[in-house]
């Protein structure tokens, strides 16, 4: 399969949204690290993430007014890189330079009022060149009963993001956790130290280039390698 028909297929299924390709997958069973024995080694498929959505974002209302996705997007006017709507969840991708301002508006504007943050989740996309490290914030507006996601990224070569602890004090431990596991430096955090791993731990364990670890286990004369060294079907 080439990229084009897949694009079309997804576009038809999910409305006008384009797709975003990050990385690719080769072969039939996703075997990595050893020779391809499936006979499908020539098969290359791009990994297609849901792409940016177009206005109106919805969700459609019975009265014909603009949905609350649009209201939130209006409130963040000028700060959004792109908006992704997937499975009914909206994600606002924000450039790191605009993160604090966007968060400030989201928290304080009466039409937005995202007064509760469910924390920060780091994700490492090694194939997303120039934006390898992502931080994902899940915000809740209890006033309006809305939930959005704010996503910000930084390159591996310059792993800095502005800290939002001053806006959402709950991010204190969450940012420490993302630093601990992904090596993202949150500038302005009051005490950015490791939280789960020991203080002198080398490396950041949840990055994709960090091995899972483990020892081979012997069973009746045969050895079972640790999970990250087994032949995988991913």
């Amino acid at each position: 399969m080439t990229e084009e028909p897949q694009n079309k297929e997804l576009a038809e299924a999910g409305g006008p949204a384009a797709v975003e390709s990050i990385g690719q997958r080769a072969g039939m069973f996703g075997v990595k690290g050893s020779g391809d024995t499936s006979g499908f080694g020539g098969l290359v498929q791009p990994t297609l993430y849901p792409g940016p959505a177009q206005r109106p974002f919805g969700p459609s209302t019975s009265s014909g007014e603009s949905g609350w996705f649009d209201i939130v997007a209006d409130g963040l006017d000028g700060l959004i890189e792109r908006v992704v709507i997937h499975r009914g969840e909206i994600t606002f991708h924000v450039h790191r330079d605009h993160l604090v301002e966007a968060m400030q508006r989201l928290r304080d504007e009466p039409s937005l009022r995202f007064e509760f943050s469910a924390g920060v989740s780091g994700v490492h996309y090694p194939d997303d060149t120039g934006r390898e490290l992502h931080a994902v914030y899940s915000l809740v507006s209890m006033t309006w009963n809305r939930r959005i996601r704010v996503e910000v990224s930084c390159p591996d070569s310059d792993p800095h993001l502005p800290s939002t602890v001053a806006l959402y004090p709950t991010h204190d431990w969450h940012e420490r956790e993302v630093w601990d596991f992904f090596g993202v430096i949150f500038d302005g955090h009051p005490a950015l130290v490791r939280i789960q791993m020991p203080d002198d731990w080398p490396g950041h364990p949840q990055r994709k280039d960090y091995p899972l670890g483990g020892i081979p286990v012997e069973y009746k004369g045969a050895t079972v390698p640790p999970p990250d060294q087994r032949r995988s079907y991913n």
Partner: protein, 461 residues
């Protein structure tokens, strides 16, 4: 427990009168004198500290202290008995569950995440499974019976979790009867879990697409008996504690945190509801069909530990109400499917009791080994390789006994999670330790933390 005194003056002077203890000596460090206490005669310690009575003392409480709900380390700065600063040290139970899940299939992930918050395993499974189902876009295809069974197990689990919260919280302030009766009732819930899932904890019972197995025969009667018994037993807690002057004196006004504090620190669950704000995800953002059940969100308006205790007690009553409704619905759903019909997602085999205990159903073995080559291939592919989940990310939070529990599930289109991050309420709520306990007494720190009800397995993951 380490006790260290720090002082601005030199602490090098040691007088010759000190007794030496091989296990609990004192040592001089750059930050002051450090006393190691390992359960010997306290007089020795008090004498030693007494020399520096005018100084600030830093007490290192835990991570192996029985009052810290597992391996929580508290670093308390004391002046007399008053806590001037309180900080938490966590990470002693970090097991890399999130990382491990990236090396197993989507279905196997349940086995890992159920072990995180070990007092509410079903909630860990639920939020993860709901996230995977949203990415698979099969949320509407989950059979009704699976949804009702999930609700039933989650609410039973809420009861068992709140019972432990009340039991251990009582024990820590010396109310041992609360502990013994709390664990007595929890045992009954665990018996039900064992009956339904086969395990008392670490069930891995919720699967993407439904639940692992149908209800065993007689389960509904057992649950009805349990509800009947609990209605008799729950008032015992109220009689024992609600108006008990000692209990109230220890809890009232302790661990105070108002609504603004809760929201800025991200606190949810009973702590948030103790401020009088009725925020409950089961009502506000329903999942698993919670909108079909009748129950009330319990609040209290004191913002303190006593309010949180009363909320937990009341929530157990509400959970019983939901359990009753779920049982009634299940009675009408006998023989209905508990797994999604899509054979590309549903786990192929079913479990059954054999002569040597629980195992793969013999009918299924007969089918794949003797009747259908395609079924065998299908079974093999799903069990070894698993199913693929379309790329994207999802976050479906649930209202766990401790607050908002959510799994941020990211897929790259593979048969394994690309990344799963759990927003555990214990982790977030523990951040309130300092604001709840600074300025209070040492003994109140324990009460404040017990009112947060952290589970370290969930905090450290």
């Amino acid at each position: 427990m380490d006790v260290s005194t720090s002082s601005t003056r030199a602490t090098g002077s040691t007088d010759g009168t000190e007794t030496t203890d091989a296990y609990a000596g004192t040592s001089e460090t750059t930050s002051g004198r450090v006393y190691t206490v390992t359960g010997q005669d306290w007089d020795t310690l008090v004498e030693g500290v007494g020399e520096h009575a005018d100084e600030r003392i830093v007490v290192n409480m835990g991570p192996q202290h029985p009052s810290t709900h597992g391996v929580l380390r508290l670093i308390l700065e004391l002046e007399g008995e008053t806590v001037t600063e309180a900080r938490c040290g966590i990470g002693y139970l970090h097991t890399g569950i999130e990382k491990n899940m990236e090396f197993r299939t989507w279905t196997q992930g349940v086995t890992f995440c159920t072990r995180m918050d070990y007092l509410s395993p079903f909630y860990n499974e639920a939020t993860y499974v709901l996230g995977v189902e949203r990415l698979l876009d099969i949320e509407d295809d989950i059979p009704e019976k699976a949804q009702v069974m999930r609700v039933l197990l989650m609410e039973l689990n809420r009861i068992s979790s709140h019972l432990v919260a009340i039991a251990t919280g009582g024990m820590e302030i010396g109310a041992l009867t609360v502990m013994t009766v709390g664990f007595r009732e929890r045992e009954l819930v665990l018996d039900l879990f064992e009956l339904i899932t086969g395990l008392r904890m670490n069930h891995a019972f919720f699967r993407p697409g439904g639940v692992a197995q149908d209800l065993p025969a007689g389960a509904l009667d057992e649950i009805r008996d349990f509800v009947k018994l609990m209605k008799k037993r729950l008032p015992e807690y109220a009689d024992l504690c609600n108006a008990n002057p000692i209990f109230k004196a220890r809890l009232e006004g302790v661990g105070y945190l108002d609504l603004a504090g809760c929201l800025s620190l991200g606190l949810s669950g009973p702590v948030l509801r103790s401020t009088g704000y009725a925020w409950d995800l089961r009502k506000t953002q329903p999942y698993c069909g919670y909108e079909d059940y009748e129950f009330d969100v319990q609040t209290w308006d004191t913002s303190d530990s006593y309010g949180r205790f009363r909320i937990r007690l009341n929530e157990m009553w509400e959970s019983l109400r939901i359990v009753e409704q779920a049982v009634d619905r299940l009675a009408g759903l006998e023989g209905a499917p508990v797994m999604v019909a899509d054979k590309k997602i549903a786990w192929p085999s079913q479990l059954a009791i054999g002569s040597d205990g629980m195992g793969n159903s013999l009918d299924h073995i007969k089918h794949i080994m003797g009747e259908s080559m395609e079924a065998l291939i299908h079974h093999f592919k799903l069990v070894t390789e698993g199913f693929r989940v379309p790329p994207g990310q999802a976050y479906v939070p649930v209202e766990s006994p401790r607050g908002e529990l959510g799994a941020h599930v990211v897929s790259d289109g593979g048969t394994r999670p690309f990344r799963v991050h759990f927003r555990d309420p214990s982790f977030t709520n523990l951040q309130a330790t300092s604001v709840m306990s600074e300025g209070g007494m040492v003994a109140d720190v324990i009460v404040a933390i017990a009112s947060i009800d952290p589970v370290m397995g969930g905090v450290d993951r």
